[in-house]
Amino acid sequence: MKTYTSAILFGILAIVSGCNSDDCDTSFSCETVAPTYGTLTVSVTPNDQNPLVPIAVYIGDIEDSSLYFVDTIFQSTEYYVDLDVTYSGSATYRDGSKTIIAIDGDRVRLKEEQNCELTCYTVKNGFLQLGLKP
């Protein structure tokens, strides 16, 4: 019985680890021209006190003082941005007499992979979740 269970466990590990040596998937949609930009989606949560939310987006961490752009938005907004860059952002809300500054960061990446002897490019877009927590 223990032999069976060990074999099952080994089989599960083999499946999870992906023992697939096939490196040509003809059904794979391959973009062979490298994109030059990605998208950075900034989400906010407007409310009665903050119908429009001022945001600031930076290159690197917020403390790096490398301001990329500022905007005032009322819903999730997409921006076209350079690839392979880490972005951070802040959104400023009023809450009664208090001020809440929401901060987030993400990286927009260009990814390469080989398929059927072609170099395929994909973009991992970025998201800055600057909405207030529930």
């Binding site: 019985m1 223990k2 917020i62 500054i101 960061g105 800055l128």
Partner: protein
């Protein structure tokens, strides 16, 4: 390695490899982790190294040190690295090498985190975690357990009380 060196041959014969995965959650937070260690079968005791982390960053509010009217909301990633000791108690045996019981585990280790988009970092430090749960073990090898977890965090709006589910495999002797 040092521990293994001081054990008698009889004790070594009772030791198995012990590997596990687990998840714990409440309404505000969810963690998952991997464990690897040794099980002392004659003692029904396991010692495991354990690494776990939060599934995705969590929004947390932090008051400014200089201005009580200013709050920062960060997205916090959190990681846990430590050692867990688990003791099992058999309640009933059934079938062929199966059993039902209860287990209690205590974890101690280091908790560290990261805020996204800023060089400001959350508090790191030593932490504890306790678990109690019923378990079912099959073939003296595979254990499924699910029960209560206590994991206090320094984030005030995330409760210390959680539900957890774990799966453990013992491999090797005896």
């Amino acid at each position: 390695m040092v521990l293994f060196g001081i054990l008698t041959p009889q004790m070594k014969a009772q030791i198995q490899g012990d590997f596990g995965v687990h998840t714990s959650f409440n309404g505000r937070d969810i963690n998952w982790g991997l464990q690897a260690g040794i099980a002392f079968q004659h003692l029904d005791l396991s010692l495991r190294g354990d690494f776990s982390n939060r599934m995705g960053p969590k929004r947390v509010l932090v008051e400014s040190a200089n201005n009580p009217n200013l709050l920062y909301q960060y997205r916090e990633a959190r990681y846990y690295l430590g050692i867990e000791a688990e003791k099992r108690f058999t309640v009933m045996e059934f079938g062929n090498d199966h059993r039902f019981g209860a287990c209690a585990a205590l974890w101690g280790g280091y908790s560290f985190g990261d805020y996204k988009g800023t060089s400001v970092a959350p508090d790191d430090g030593f932490s504890i975690r306790g678990r109690v749960a019923p378990f079912v073990q099959f073939d003296e090898q595979f254990t499924i357990k699910g029960g209560y977890e206590y994991l206090p965090l320094k984030v005030e709006d995330i409760s210390a009380h959680r539900f957890f589910i774990g799966f453990t495999a013992n491999i090797g002797n005896p």
